[in-house]
């Protein structure tokens, strides 16, 4: 039986990808940011997950304005790395776990989630930057991926509650997959950032830290937080944080925080990172 062993959250700022790809991780500006991801790299080396259900948003890469799926699930064997305007990132192609992905897709649709199934797509920094942060620069990624792309660009994105419920449904689906797989679920994007207009550059450390606290301590309230609060408090692109609720919903009512990192700035953005485990989970 497959099982969700951990939930990981991280920002997915494109500049982080550029810093890695251009060999700048040792520079003063970037050092403290990357240092906060040392812990998780060791955790991953120890835990050896088989598959990551990777919740992210596409940033006008795979999907243009012709088609805007609220929740899309990638069911392919492989995903190309998107060219976002400056050439594709020099990272390995992302291998999918088509068996698990199709299983989750089928289960969730039967469970009354209106997913869009995707069989071919390119994946952008929203997916590849977290991969780099968790695994460094290997020749091939050590996990297979089930991408879940969430619309957080065109309004309205899904509600926090709907995201949480999808997380619960994904967890039920994973638990009914017959193969023995160590599955992690990642929620990416956020934290505070606003990339547009006179208010660009907004960073709300207090609110971000409270969000990190509440994700384990008071998730029920987070689940019902309206979109407007994300926008007011964490900037227009802070809405990406709703995606973390899919991850959190998949862990069940209680979770334990294993690791936390918070850093400002990466380009325009506050960077947050959490490693959670479902509470009550026994180490093997």
């Amino acid at each position: 039986m497959a099982r969700i062993t951990a939930g990981i959250a991280t920002s997915h700022v494109p500049a982080i990808g550029a810093a890695i790809d251009l060999g700048k991780t040792g520079e003063e500006y970037w050092k403290p940011l990357f240092a906060g991801y040392d812990w998780v790299k060791q955790y991953q080396a120890r835990e050896k997950p088989d598959v990551v259900v990777l919740v992210y948003n596409d940033h006008a890469s795979a999907f243009d304005m012709k088609i805007i799926p609220t929740f899309a699930i990638g069911c392919a064997d492989e995903y190309a790395v998107a060219d976002e305007g400056w050439g594709p990132r020099p990272v390995p192609p992302v291998k999918g776990h088509a068996d698990l992905a199709w299983h989750i897709a089928q289960c969730c649709i039967l469970d009354e989630f209106d997913l869009t199934i995707i069989n071919e797509m390119a994946v952008d920094h929203g997916l590849t930057v977290p991969m780099s942060l968790m695994f460094g620069e290997p020749r091939a990624w050590p996990v297979k991926v089930v991408p879940i792309a969430v619309n957080v660009v065109t309004y309205p994105p899904p509600t926090g509650n709907r995201c949480w419920l999808l997380g619960e449904a994904i967890a039920r689906a994973v638990e009914s997959f017959p193969e023995d797989l160590n599955v992690q679920i990642w929620g990416t994007g956020g934290m505070s950032h606003q990339l547009q207009g006179p208010r660009a550059g907004l960073i709300n450390k207090d609110w971000d830290r409270a969000f990190l606290d509440r994700l384990t301590g008071d998730p029920e309230a987070l689940r019902h937080m309206p979109h407007i609060e994300y926008l007011r408090e964490a900037g227009s692109e802070g809405i990406e944080l709703v995606m973390w609720l899919i991850m959190r919903g998949a862990l069940g009512p209680r979770a334990r925080e294993l690791h936390r990192h918070y850093h400002v700035p990466a380009s325009n953005t506050a960077v947050g990172h959490l490693v959670l485990e479902p509470a009550g989970k026994e180490k093997p």
Partner: protein
């Protein structure tokens, strides 16, 4: 949260210096965003760079939209329905970063903007709500 779409959308006009990518904006900027998206292909980037006006002429854009692109006025592009993730293909083509583009919209110099970010970013105090002045 409210399920009344009118109340839901009305809230978004209350955030200072922020334009939320609602249906109204998505519709207005449809071709502007599709044009920007086309720059994901290296071949289109070359054609755009070789003759910006000619390339823009292939898209059903308003004159205001074209002028905003030519001037790299990202605030004006957003007013015209552009979305920053689509517009990112334009500044990527120019070899510019998200920090450059975001900074260019604030009225600050790039150095001042970078310094503000290094100093912890813009405070949310006073820019949460126009109505409530907080």
């Amino acid at each position: 949260m409210t399920r009344d779409i009118h109340a839901y959308l009305a809230q978004f006009d209350d955030i200072p210096g922020t334009r939320v990518f609602t249906a109204a904006r998505a519709r207005r900027g449809y071709h502007l965003n599709q044009f920007a998206m086309s720059l994901m292909k290296a071949e289109n980037r070359e054609r755009f760079k070789a003759d910006e006006r000619a390339y823009l002429g292939e898209w059903p854009l308003t004159e205001t939209q074209k002028a905003a692109v030519l001037a790299r006025d990202y605030n004006a592009m957003i007013d015209e329905g552009g979305n920053i993730y689509f517009l990112a293909k334009i500044f990527a083509t120019d070899g510019k970063s998200f920090q450059y583009a975001a900074g260019s919209m604030t009225g600050m110099s790039q150095d001042d903007y970078a310094a503000m970010m290094l100093g912890g970013g813009r405070s949310p105090d006073g820019v949460r709500s126009i109505r409530e002045g907080r």
